[in-house]
């Protein structure tokens, strides 16, 4: 009789733990890329070149991954909502590496057109540019 109760209690605890784990997983916010350590180091020039040479392979290699891209900043755009985008120069006049920053991220203030920068973000693929979102200035 005692062991029967124990089993029920154990099952209840297990269900509760499972339920709260599920709830936690369900509610979990996407990871803050700014706090992620590491990332694939690459230059903007090489990144675009790789994508242009083999987009499918590059998608597998880079998309959904955290990248730290180094390049010359050609332009910084900030819209009225505080959404900033940084363009990194490549060897192709018509294509850049587009880095879409976290909204109102303060590290954008240190990014200047005409200067080099190391930018951390998640690669989402290539349109005419290689695109990164959730960007910030890498330390």
């Amino acid at each position: 009789m005692r062991s029967w109760k124990k089993i029920i209690a154990a099952l209840l605890i297990l269900a509760l733990a499972g339920g709260s784990y599920g709830w936690y997983q369900y509610q979990k916010a996407p990871p803050d890329i700014r706090k992620e350590k590491g990332g694939i180091e690459i230059t903007a020039i090489d990144l675009l070149k790789e994508f242009q040479q083999n987009e499918t392979a590059s998608n597998t290699k880079y998309v959904d991954k955290v990248l730290v891209v180094t390049g010359m900043v050609t332009e910084v755009q900030t819209d009225s909502s505080g959404q900033s985008t940084v363009y990194l120069q490549t060897n192709d006049l018509l294509s850049a590496v587009t880095c879409s920053f976290y909204q109102n991220d303060e590290s954008i203030n240190k990014v200047k057109a005409g200067s080099p920068a190391r930018i951390k973000g998640v690669c989402t693929g290539m349109l005419s540019d290689v695109v990164l979102n959730k960007c910030s200035l890498a330390e």
Partner: protein, 183 residues
Amino acid sequence: MKQMLIIIGSFVLSLPVFSQKRYFTKTGQINFAAGTAAEDIDGINKAATSVFDATTGQIEFAVLVKGFEFKRALMQEHFNENYMESDKFPKSIFKGKIVNIDKVNFQKDGSYPVTVKGVLDMHGVKKEVETTGALKVTGEAVQSDASFTVLLADYKIAIPSLVKDKISPSVTIKVNCHYNVLK
């Protein structure tokens, strides 16, 4: 020398006729709402590219499906893996035309209602869509605003019965772009 001047002069004069004014953006915002009363589901993409021709009204949008951001990690995962299958179909593309582009005066500031018709290529399915929106001209810059609804079933996106009360069968897509002149 005189002949050359004439040639150069006529070339310069003819330029405005040949040059078609095009506008573009790489930071178009596209968001969608697929939630119901039971659940808020929305994603936003801030790096859509778009270009349109002010003379012909030809307009194109392209967006990377993986670039949609969500409030919850799991939503983003399900969106990419179960519904949009973004490894297989990484881009969504719209190609069409602003049918009443002649009603927009790009020389005069103001908000102009427009109708856009075209084909949306999403999840490997191409389908005609038509919507109305507005083009707002401010000097050299143009802002576009439009929203339209698509049925997930039209794009072969199946909703499992388990989450039927959470995901709306019709999705509202909003598009907001700040264009600059393509030089």
